[in-house]
Each structure stands twice: as C-alpha cells, then as structure tokens.
C-alpha cells in the first residue's frame, strides 16, 4: 500500500474559507454516528489474530463478520486477502528455528562422534562381564580391616589398562574413584605395612614380593596383547578368552622381569601348582592360575614368523615355540622352550609344552 505522502512537518495554517466557521459549527451538531460494538469486536479480533504467530491472515475479519451475522461481506474481501501480506508471518521470530536447527546439528554431530568411538556392540557385554566382577570384588573387599591389596591392584589399573575398551573405562572409574577418594590413606598404609613384612620375611619374599610389588600395576598391558592374539587367532577355543582377559597380574612381563631373580630358586612345579600370589586376587585370576590352559590344537600358518624378538610377549613366544615343534624344528623349539622357562619360571605352561619341557 504505497501512498503518496506529503512532506513531513507541521501543516501550514490554511486560511479559512468564507462561511466555513458557521458550517463547521453546524456540522459538529450533526449526530455522531459510531460503529457498532460487533464491528469494533471484529476489527480488534482481526488485529489480535494478525499478531498471533500461527494465524497471520487478517482476512478472518470477514469470517468474523459473517459469523456474527452483522453485515455479510459482499465484495473486496478477496482483494483484501490478495493485498494483505503475511504480516504475522513476517513478524514471527525466526531465531528459534535457526537455533533449534543448529542445536540439532550439534547434537547429531556429537552423537555420531560418540558412536564412532564405541566398540562393536557384540563385545560390550563380555567386556562388562569381565570387568564388573573385579570392580565389585574390589568395592566389597575394601571396607574390611585388612584391605586386599591385590584386589585393589587388580582394580586400580582396570580403568586405564586396556586401550581396547575405552567405553568401559567410565563405569569402572565411577566405582573406583570414590574408593580412591575415601580409602587412599588406608590403602597406602596397608601397602606400607605389608611391604615391611615382605622385607622381614625371606620365606615369603618370593611370593609376596610378587604379590605386593608395584609391578602388577602395569600388568594389564600384556593381557590386552594376549587378547589381541587370541581374538586374531580364530582356532583358539572360546573358553580361553575370558581366562586370558581376567588374569592381568600373572602375565605381566615387567613383574616377571623384576621377580625373576628372586624366583630363580623356586621349582617349576611349585610355581605351576602353588597359587600363592593369587590368594588375594579376584576369582577369575585364581581360576586361571589353578586351571591349566587346555592344549589347543595348533595349526601353524604357512608363512608364520618363528623368529624370536625381544618385543614378543610370552604368549607370542609360546606360540612360536609351538609352531617350531609343529614344523619339526624340535631342537630349536626345545632350546627356546627351556630358555623361556628359565626366563619365566612361573609362567603357566600349557600341558603340551610342559610335556615337551620334561622330555629332555
């Protein structure tokens, strides 16, 4: 509705026309007609509806008039509808839509990032099953008078142990973190006391030094590697997987390296059958220590590398020794098995390798 408008400013006083004052006085005496209340209501309702966010068309004025039955619209309503812009829609604030869209995008991106970091859904239950009992054992045993340090040691590295299961780190952290906060001083004191006992008692030194040494703190790394091996080797029995995962402490190479000189005098059978270091450990490690790993049918791969590397884990070394036996290199296999047994006297050898070890 573009109109030609005069220039802004106070209007110049017009000169009065002849007889205008008399006519104006008489005109003011004419009856003051007013619009009907229904007409007022219809106009005001149309104005209100034009401001409403979801009804932007002010042409409802005609509909209101029809409904009221005052004066039915005869014409110009359609032209009015055509000329009436969507004023209400124009006045409608649009920033909530933009803000909502942006928030949705951010949420979707965050979810996608989070879902990408999650492991496959099939492995989640088994990881939780293997981790939860350890945490529960630790949480249940800590309030006792003599806290089981091994349990604490097995529980503490859990949150930061395996790089293969980052999502499960959150729940163990939630269990262990309060325990750390509340019983840190008590645990440290208990560790100190038992360390003193360890130094005073030579008889128990071999077992208990292994049990209370700080080495198991770094122990969970090898099991994760072993888990990688077992998961990559499709011929391994499925029963071995939880055993390998749940036994972080005995398989720790750093512990073996540090305790190897001390445990040199311990016989192989004693080391294999006496689970003293695992007395205070959770159930799963104890089961793994007492129950020898079942011999697995080994099928050597054609191009498998049997060379011994310093970076090989004990499990890898045993696999390579087993492969050498399978390939017929009994001498080399025997030498490496003997060397392995000397280096890791407490390593729980499989039955087939134990038989090979006793042979000479």
């Amino acid at each position: 509705m573009t109109t030609r408008l005069p220039p802004q400013g106070p209007p110049e006083p017009d000169e009065k026309l002849p007889g205008e004052a008399e006519l104006a006085a008489l005109y003011r005496q004419l009856p003051k007609s007013e619009p009907s209340p229904a007409l007022d209501a219809a106009v005001l309702r149309a104005a209100a509806q034009a401001l409403a966010p979801d009804e932007a068309n002010p042409t409802v004025l005609g509909a209101e008039r029809e409904r009221g039955g005052e004066t039915p619209p005869k014409s110009n309503i359609s032209s009015l509808a055509a000329s009436a812009p969507a004023g209400g829609a124009r006045r409608r604030p649009r920033w909530p839509i933009a803000l909502g869209s942006a928030a949705t995008l951010v949420l979707a991106a965050g979810l996608a990032l989070h879902m990408r970091e999650l492991p496959p859904a099939t492995s989640a239950p088994t990881e939780m099953d293997s981790a939860a009992p350890a945490q529960a054992t630790a949480a249940a045993s800590l309030p006792r008078a003599t806290p089981p340090v091994a349990a604490m040691q097995s529980a503490e590295p859990a949150p930061s142990s395996s790089p293969m299961k980052p999502p499960e780190q959150s729940s163990p952290e939630m269990v262990v973190a309060p325990l750390r906060a509340s019983t840190t001083s008590a645990l440290r004191k208990a560790i100190a006391d038992q360390a003193a006992e360890r130094t005073s008692s030579k008889a128990k030194a071999a077992g208990e030094s292994r049990q209370y040494a700080p080495a198991p703190m770094a122990a969970p790394a090898p099991p994760s590697v072993a888990l990688q091996e077992t998961s990559s080797n499709s011929v391994e029995p499925a029963s071995k997987m939880p055993v390998t995962r749940a036994a972080p402490a005995p398989a720790a190479p750093p512990a073996d390296e540090t305790t190897a000189p001390q445990a040199a005098g311990v016989s192989a059978t004693n080391a294999a059958t006496t689970p003293t270091p695992d007395e205070a450990a959770p159930v799963a490690p104890r089961v793994r220590a007492r129950m020898p790993v079942a011999p697995t049918p080994f099928t050597p791969a054609a191009g498998m590398d049997t060379t011994s590397y310093a970076s090989d884990t004990p499990a890898q070394e045993l696999d390579k020794i087993r492969q050498l036996f399978a390939l017929g290199h009994d001498d080399e296999a025997q030498q490496r098995l003997t060397a392995f047994h000397l280096a890791h006297p407490r390593w729980d050898l499989p039955l087939d390798l134990q038989a090979k070890l006793r042979k000479p």
Partner: protein, 201 residues
C-alpha cells in the same frame, strides 16, 4: 466497549520527549507493528468514530459503510509491517478509506438513493442537551445541511467532509483525495457556497 484511559495517557505519549512533528498515532501504529495489540486498540479508539462518520456520510449506506470500515482497518492491519510515519496517521487512514470508497463506488453504481441515506443518517441518535424551543429549527438546519452535503458532487462532498469532519488542511485533503491543493481549495469554495445557499433558503 470501554477503554478506560485515553490512548496518549495509556502509552505515555505525552511524557515522551518527542519532536513536535512526531505523530502520536504514528507511534501507536509503530508499536502495533512491533506486536503491541494495546497500541492498536488505542489507535482504533481514537479514529473509529471519525472514520465511520466519514464513510457513512460519503456512501450513505450503512451496510457498505460497515464493509468499507472493516476493510479500511484490515488494510491498516495488513500494512503494519511496512508502515512508515511519513504523514499523519489520520491522513493515511482516510486515504485508504477514500480509495476503497472510490473502488466500491465504481463497482456498485448506482449508490443508495437520497431517501435511504437520509433515513440512515436520521436514525442516529440526536444530542440530548438541546433546548425544546430550538429543537425544531436546529433539527431542520442539520437536516438541511445533511441534504445539501448529499447533493454535492462526490469530489466536493469528500473535500467538505474531510474539512468539516476531520478538520484537515488543504494539503492533507489533497493527499487523501489525490488532487492538487488548488483543486481542493476550489472544490471547497464551490461546496461551501452551495451549502450556504441551501441553508439560507
């Protein structure tokens, strides 16, 4: 329909340090464009009577008057977003009404005859504070004025109504009607001369 306070008091228009050229009605219209429904109500109260009378005395048909009245306000509502206070709001409002009236007259000829319009105007209540001895003469003079206005040509009648009812200036009447100032002045001269002649008979 009751509106308790005058519009300028309800919205504090008098207390604002406004320029003299700023139209309070324009401020109300701008407030309504920003979503203030009360501003529109105040604006409506200020102009409903004069707009209705202008339309009624121009078209002399109550039904068409209601229709044009509603359409005029609908145009105002629709144009609120692009309204710019470049002139008095009353001038803009009357210009809308005048344009609608002309369009309606073009589509709907002939207009209501003189008797119907006279009846419509006569049905409006008369002022009550009138002396009994002057009632007849005043009534006759008013009726004579109404008849004289109705008999004026359309352009002259519109100019007279805008001048007498709205007290618009020549410039404002020229704006509303789309004519030149001198043309408006000439129309007013002819119309007032005719009215005086009728009243003096």
């Amino acid at each position: 329909m009751t509106f308790p306070l005058p519009a300028d008091r309800r919205f504090g228009l008098r207390s604002l340090p406004m320029d003299a050229a700023v139209d309070p009605d324009a401020m109300l219209m701008l407030a309504y464009a920003r979503g203030d429904l009360a501003a529109f109500e105040a604006l409506y109260v200020r102009h409903r009577g004069m707009l209705y009378r202008f339309l009624l005395r121009s078209v002399r048909d109550p039904h068409r008057t209601d229709e044009l009245f509603q359409e005029t306000w609908s145009r105002v509502i629709s144009a609120r977003a692009r309204y710019q206070p470049q002139a008095k709001f009353s001038t803009w409002l009357l210009q809308i009404a005048h344009n609608l009236m002309i369009d309606s007259a073009r589509r709907q000829r002939p207009m209501a005859d003189g008797d119907e319009g006279e009846i419509a105007l006569a049905n409006v209540a008369t002022p009550e504070q009138e002396q009994p001895d002057h009632t007849l003469s005043e009534f006759q003079r008013r009726r004579g004025l109404q008849r004289a206005i109705e008999q004026l040509p359309d352009e002259q009648r519109t100019a007279v109504l805008l001048r007498l009812e709205q007290e618009l200036s020549l410039e404002e009447i020229a704006t509303v009607t789309g004519a030149r100032r001198e043309t408006v002045k000439s129309r007013l001269r002819y119309a007032m001369t005719r009215l005086r002649e009728v009243l003096s008979e």
